[in-house]
């Protein structure tokens, strides 16, 4: 095939299937791990990054993609999401986020990921190429299940799997009773909170008892078999907690139970104990910057400043959207959450790291994802500007070296209705 034609094709949005090596040429490479390589080259071979630098040796038959004036980023990793578990929030049949009951450490998010979700291409189209899919608690839920890191490309969830389990999820029982709630409702909520606390205590007792009696011959208890690796540090235990009280209790819990690899998720009030978190080396997957301050009396920019405060104290942070159905439909906005933290003092490079390499490290997939480094998966994308800017377009993407189709249900509808009114200005 004519080389020139191939280069042209690379500039189009259409997916590009190519079995051999691909050379991304001329773009600024935002490696995350080692700065920016301006006008660099990056070679993809067999789905991995074979080499990158200002000048790399590429096989003669490598497909060269001219990316002058563009930027290449490692795929963004949505570190706390329900993408794949939900389709339309209001339609119950499409909702697989939360299993019934309090103690479900065995529930597997991966097994319920809908590979054909219409929400997935929408996330992908803005560079979100990997997702940490997190099972959620129901109203009474505490231990919600096993999460998985998936890449947003594959015919089935098996093909999408990057790591499973990525961890076990504990949603710390937290009071959300407004002091003005009518008495009957407040009482109901108090009871429910206590039930959640009790369920957790009981689960901890039972799992230890189970571990001690292991090998006694009875069939395995699915719940405790799933939970034990998180308690002894073989997999991370993600503890979801926001308020100061919940964080305090969670820290005491980590200490008491000697949790091996704890990661806090949410952390709205985490900045208040930033020094403790830094000293104890407990990382935090922060919620979105676009959140209201927790309390009326908090500083009006309190939610925006969390990231800079934690980073300044030396806490390792990842940045994620909220794991809501609403956010899953707009997982594409992940870089904008990071950008909003930048407006309030977070270093832009750190912000980018917080949606790429840091979550990859926390999720145990940094050997494959999170940065542009030789040997890692060629999961990356091309943008025409700063990915922390909402005006920037994502032009192309590869997952494990496979070119990604950036079309979505939305772009198809857009094209269709543009034709209704044709001619219209030919733009993005």
């Amino acid at each position: 095939m004519n080389r020139r034609l191939l280069v042209l094709a690379g500039l189009l949005l259409a997916p590009l299937a190519h079995a051999g090596a691909v050379l991304l040429d001329g773009a600024d490479l935002y490696t995350v791990s080692h700065g920016v390589i301006t006008r660099g080259q990056l070679l993809i071979v067999d789905g991995r990054i074979a080499a990158l630098g200002t000048q790399v040796r590429a096989p003669a038959d490598a497909l060269r993609v001219d990316l002058r004036g563009q930027r290449v980023y490692p795929g963004l990793l949505a570190a706390n999401s329900v993408l794949g578990l939900t389709e339309i929030e209001a339609v119950r049949a499409t909702d697989d986020r939360a299993e019934a009951g309090a103690i479900n450490p065995n529930a597997r998010a991966l097994a319920a990921v809908n590979a054909d979700s219409e929400l997935i291409p929408v996330a992908r189209a803005n560079g979100v190429l990997s997702v940490h899919v997190v099972p959620q608690p129901g109203r009474t839920g505490v231990l919600s299940g096993q999460s998985a890191v998936i890449s947003l490309d594959g015919w089935t969830w098996e093909q999408m799997r990057v790591r499973e389990p990525a961890g076990i999820h504990l949603f710390w029982p937290e009071s959300e009773i407004p002091d003005w709630a009518p008495a009957a409702l407040a009482e109901r909520m108090r009871k429910q909170l206590q039930q959640r606390r009790d369920a957790l205590e009981r689960a901890l007792h039972d799992v230890r008892a189970y571990a001690a009696a292991r090998g006694a011959g009875s069939a395995p208890d699915l719940r405790w078999e799933a939970l034990l690796p998180a308690l002894d540090g073989r997999v991370p235990l993600f503890i979801h907690a926001d308020g100061a009280v919940a964080l305090r209790e969670a820290l005491a819990f980590i200490d008491r139970e000697r949790v091996g690899r704890p990661v806090l998720v949410g952390g709205a009030d985490a900045w208040r104990i930033a020094d403790v978190l830094a000293a104890r080396r407990i990382p935090v997957i922060l919620g979105p910057a676009n959140a209201l301050p927790r309390h009326r009396g908090d500083a009006i920019d309190a939610a925006y400043r969390i990231a800079a405060r934690l980073a300044q104290a030396g806490v390792r942070i990842a940045i994620a959207n909220a794991a809501t159905a609403m956010a899953a439909a707009n997982e594409r906005n992940l870089p904008y959450q990071a950008a909003s933290y930048v407006a309030y003092g977070l270093d832009p490079a750190l912000a980018l790291r917080a949606i790429t390499l840091t979550p990859a490290e926390l999720l145990g997939v940094a050997d494959r994802l999170g940065s542009l480094d030789a040997g890692k998966d060629a999961t990356l994308f091309v943008a025409d500007g700063d990915i922390l800017d909402a005006r920037t377009q994502v032009r192309q993407a590869w997952i494990r070296g496979r070119p990604v189709d950036l079309q979505t249900r939305q772009t198809r509808l857009y094209q269709r209705y543009r034709q209704k009114y044709a001619p219209v200005p030919d733009q993005g």
Partner: protein
């Protein structure tokens, strides 16, 4: 008849004995047939030698009070005792007017219910079973306390024990609750005898029904609308009945006891007592009172000090509850984060509430209502107020004179004056300030109720004179510890039945070794006399005379050092209170900025903006600096018009949705603005200056909405955008047809898009007919026309005087409404309109604007075809498009949402910014005032620290009307003060709180199986924010928020 001789020694116990034996007889002529022998005991009493407080501040010493047949005949120092009077010597006693409880439910509840507590749940059901009642169960103004009142002797005795002799009793449940009556708290067996006055008041409350009841009203605005329509109906009803009497052949309108019962209220012969729940309710009640010319009285909630100037200006009185807030939970510093500064401030200032009102001249009465423990809590609460600096005269007035005057019995009760009813309290002089003081007796309707058969010894130092032995020269009564202190010795005391005491005096006190001597002690005139017999048979005696009373019995004394009245704290209370509106400079020059004019002039680099008295005077480069101008250097900054959010639900109190009926165009967001909502300040910080506050989308035709400016620090009225058009919300699709409300909501019409279209059509037709009748000035049959506030609002849409804001998503429903609107000749603005791109040509041709989201989709079925290019595609087809938030959080970053339309659909930066500035201004009919930067427009603008379309930029200052309402640096600088204030208040609250906590809670250990826990709710949201909406008070944290994009109601 025998005349009683004045006998101090005998008077007290005798009276007590008489009373227990007394058989009650009606006070005056009774229709009740006489049984047995007539009781002709004279009911004439002369209370002599009393200290009489005839009214607060007026004291007669050693005066006489003559009572005859339940009436005060004479009072004064020179009054002669009538020959037929029973004389009662009250030397050393103080007589007050009987106390009045201005808002009691005594005798209206089953005896089991605790007195003083209002009905716990909204009493939705009509208190009477049948009859021509109002359609709404909460509207029962015809219910009459006098008709259902039942004397409850034990409850009456409990209130008398506190000094109360009469109470205004009023129905407690409902919205227009019914008529109140004054009843005497005697033990008259028949209600009729206890009634002093009936129909004095109509109690009104902004009550709501539970959201899941599906009954009207579920929101505060619905409650107010119902009151408004009902009062309007009552006016019309009276005219209509008159007209019908002149037109005997005319059709009769349905008869209504409710509407008829409201006549006295509208004629001002009844007081309108408005129950208030928070500090914003005062203005709401006063506005209604003014609209209908009522005589308002507020049943307060303890926060009146916050809005005292309004009360002062309105000349309105207040019934004050006495319960004070408990110390806030501050012992755990982490949990204390849940306690806001406002709550801490209120805890601190609540006890000064009455003082602040007194200082402002706002009349107030007290009530026992709201006290969690009436019997045990009333006096400590009242005395606490006095101890903290309240003038005793004000406290007394609030129990006597003021309630009588405010509630229609000023000529009968409230003071001790000839001609008034004989309601008295006989007590210690220091009753209102001393924990030791007590009440001896109360008189109700001339009948005496003795509370303290034995008068206690007056506290103070008594001089002792001994005969037959020598003992201590002085003894102290009422000192600390048990017994009486006499020098180094203690006398133990025991009261004797009847009268008198036993004093056990240690022999050592009399120089007699280890014996203990028992003295019988009796009163002797003003003094005491004690006798004992020594073991040797010799008699010992002493007499005692009071040297120095512990408490002054003289005129009222003010507390020695008054705590200062709280300084006006600003509004809204809490972290970011503002003492007044920000200053408006006469001349203001913003210099050197990148100026986004959003006019044909485009974006000007290095340009200046000149503002004169809140209005833009000039826009251009290198404008001269006028003398005296305030200059804002903005080099390197960007200046844009203030952002306009065309779809917001902030600052709406107690329910965004009147989610009961399918048509609720009578409700008004403008009635329920919440200027304390912190969302106002947070959105100012995102550059928002104007917002359209929309009713929710639970009904096909929703409520009247309100355009505001985000004037943080203004009151509810001050938020309104003067001169902006009226608006109304309509809704299509899943929300009004209740698709996502759950299985309980499947019967209200409409349940389909078919029904939505038809019900809107039906009401438009009705409104058109109504408008025609209004033009004719009478109803179809020629009678007086009933004002229908629901149809009136819809008719205004047809007239083009009210903008219709139509919530809709799918192209089918949008198209149907387009055609409907075209048929009726009005041009709605569509809200959400996420499939607008599919019919952009239709919208453009119809000149119908669209206000949409940037990129939300997939949260419910009707938005699966939403695309982020919607705004741009519609704009390219010529639709006037804006982007809105519909969300408290997103409202802070509409500039960023606008920026997305550059990427999705290729708008230019100016076109993108127009989506949140000039375009929404045009949609709302206010583009001649705001939305762009041009001479003559109001100076609403934002200073950004960078390109406003970049995610990394921030609004640094936000100006409205040429006033700087937000300044990031200033707000940040407030933080230190806020933290200090918090710390100080917590330090004060902590000891109180620890006192209350008492003991440490034991650590809880779970035992037994936890049992199955049901997952009975959606994963998101641990409680139902919809059900909570109507409860959310001012200053609440924002967590239970409303968003009608996903809230489904």
């Amino acid at each position: 008849m025998r005349r009683n001789r004045p006998s101090a020694a005998a008077g007290w116990p005798l009276a007590a004995l008489l009373l227990t034996a007394a058989v009650h007889a009606p006070a005056a002529d009774s229709t009740r047939p006489l049984s047995g022998i007539a009781d002709r005991t004279p009911r004439v009493h002369a209370l002599v030698h009393a200290r009489i407080v005839t009214e607060p501040g007026r004291v007669l010493d050693d005066a006489t009070l003559v009572l005859r047949d339940g009436r005060i005949e004479a009072v004064g120092r020179t009054v002669s005792v009538p020959a037929d009077a029973e004389v009662i010597d009250l030397a050393g006693r103080t007589v007050y007017p009987g106390f009045l409880d201005a808002a009691s439910v005594y005798g209206l509840q089953p005896p089991a219910a605790a007195e003083g507590k209002p009905a716990a749940a909204p009493a939705g059901d009509h208190p009477m079973a049948a009859g021509a009642h109002h359609w709404n169960p909460g509207v029962h103004p015809e219910s009459d306390a006098a008709a259902v009142f039942t004397p409850r002797p034990e409850a009456a005795a409990r209130l008398r024990a506190l000094g109360f002799t009469a109470a205004r009793v009023a129905p407690a449940g409902g919205i227009l609750r019914g008529k109140g009556a004054w009843v005497a708290l005697g033990d008259a067996p028949a209600a009729g005898e206890a009634l002093i006055a009936d129909g004095v008041s109509q109690d009104i409350a902004f009550e709501t029904l539970p959201m899941d009841s599906g009954r009207y009203p579920v929101s505060l605005m619905g409650s107010i609308a119902l009151i408004r329509q009902t009062l309007s109906d009552a006016r019309w009803y009276a005219r209509r009945l008159q007209w019908e009497s002149q037109h005997p052949g005319a059709a009769r309108v349905p008869r209504s006891r409710a509407l008829a019962a409201l006549e006295p209220l509208l004629e001002r012969s009844q007081v309108a007592v408005f129950a208030t729940r928070d500090e914003l309710d005062y203005a709401r009640a006063l506005a209604l009172a003014q609209e209908f010319g009522l005589r308002p009285l507020l049943l307060g909630n303890g926060r009146e000090y916050r809005d005292v100037r309004r009360l002062q200006q309105a000349g309105v009185g207040v019934i004050l509850p006495l319960e004070l807030p408990p110390p806030p939970a501050v012992e755990d510093p982490d949990a204390a984060l849940e306690v806001g500064l406002e709550a801490l401030q209120h805890w601190r200032l609540a006890s000064a509430n009455a003082r602040v009102l007194a200082a402002a001249g706002v009349p107030f009465a007290f009530t026992t209502r709201g006290l969690s423990d009436v019997s045990g809590g009333f006096w400590p609460a009242l005395r606490k107020l006095v101890a903290q600096g309240m003038d005793e005269r004000d406290a007394l007035a609030a129990l006597t004179l003021t309630p009588a005057r405010l509630l229609g019995v000023g000529n009968r009760l409230g003071t001790i004056a000839p001609g008034k009813r004989a309601h008295l309290v006989v007590a210690d002089a220091d009753l209102l300030r001393s924990e030791q003081a007590g009440i001896d007796e109360v008189w109700v309707e001339g009948r005496r109720y003795v509370l303290r058969a034995q008068r206690p010894l007056q506290h103070g130092r008594w001089q002792l004179q001994w005969t037959g032995a020598s003992g201590p020269a002085e003894v102290e009564v009422g000192g600390k510890g048990p017994g009486l202190k006499a020098g180094a010795h203690t006398f133990t005391v025991r009261a004797l039945a009847g009268d008198g005491w036993l004093w056990f005096v240690p022999g050592a006190a009399l120089g007699r070794g280890r014996d203990v001597l028992a003295f019988t002690v009796a009163r002797s005139g003003e003094g005491l006399q004690g006798r004992a017999t020594l073991p040797d048979g010799a008699a010992v005696q002493f007499t005692a005379r009071l040297l120095a009373p512990e408490h002054s019995a003289g005129p009222f004394v003010a507390a020695v050092s008054l705590p200062a009245l709280p300084a006006p704290a600003g509004f809204p209370a809490g972290e970011h209170a503002r003492a007044g509106l920000p200053r408006q400079p006469d001349l203001l020059l913003v210099r050197g900025a990148t100026l986004w004019t959003q006019t044909a002039r485009g974006t000007l680099p290095h340009a200046d903006l000149l503002v004169r008295k809140g209005v833009i005077a000039a826009v251009g480069r290198d404008l001269p600096i006028p003398a005296g101008a305030q200059v804002v250097e903005a080099q390197g900054m960007h200046v844009t018009p203030g952002i306009i959010d065309a779809h917001s639900h902030i600052a709406i109190a107690r329910g965004v949705n009147e989610a009961s009926h399918a048509v609720t165009s009578e409700v008004r967001v403008g009635d329920v603005l919440d200027p304390t909502d912190i969302g106002i300040l947070r959105q100012l910080a995102g550059g928002v200056t104007t917002a359209l506050l929309l009713h929710g989308s639970a009904n096909a035709i929703g409520g009247q909405s309100q355009i505001i400016k985000l004037r943080w620090g203004a009151d509810a009225e001050g938020l309104k955008f003067a001169g902006a058009p009226d608006t109304i919300k309509l809704a299509l699709g899943e929300n009004p047809k209740q698709s996502n409300w759950g299985d309980a909501f499947t019967t209200r019409y409409p349940q389909t898009r078919m029904g939505v279209e038809q019900i809107v059509l039906d009401r438009l037709l009705a409104a058109r007919e109504y408008a025609a009748q209004r033009r004719r000035g009478h109803a179809r049959d020629g009678g007086p026309l009933r004002r229908d506030l629901q149809l009136e609002a819809i008719a205004e849409v047809l007239d083009g005087r009210r903008l219709a804001e139509v919530h809709g998503y799918r192209q089918d429903e949008l198209l149907a409404f387009v055609r409907l609107a075209q048929r009726f000749g009005f041009r709605p603005t569509f809200q959400h309109v996420l499939e607008g791109y599919k019919i952009a040509d239709v919208l453009a041709a119809g000149g119908m604007p669209a206000s949409t989201f940037s990129d939300w989709w997939a949260y419910k079925y009707e938005v699966i075809d939403a695309i982020p290019q919607n705004a741009a595609l519609m704009a390219h087809q010529g639709v006037l498009v804006s982007i809105n938030s519909d969300d408290e959080e997103m409202g802070r970053r509409l500039n960023q949402e606008a920026a997305k339309s550059i990427r999705y659909g290729g708008l230019s930066p100016q076109e993108a910014l127009a989506l949140v500035t000039s375009n929404p201004a045009r949609q709302l009919g206010i583009a001649d005032r705001v939305g762009s930067l041009a001479p003559g427009l109001q100076a609403d603008f934002v200073l950004w620290n960078g390109d406003p379309l970049a995610l990394t930029s921030r609004a640094e200052q936000t100006w409205i009307d040429g006033r700087r309402y937000f300044d990031r640096a200033a707000v940040a600088a407030e933080r230190a003060r806020i933290e200090k204030q918090r710390a100080e208040l917590i330090a004060l609250a902590l000891p109180e709180r620890l006192k209350k906590l008492g003991q440490e809670l034991p650590a809880r250990v779970p035992d037994g199986p936890a049992g199955p826990v049901s997952a009975d709710a959606p994963a998101d949201g641990r409680y139902d924010s919809v059900a909570l909406a109507a409860w959310r008070p001012p200053y609440a944290d924002s967590r239970p928020a409303h968003s009608c994009h996903a809230g489904e109601r």
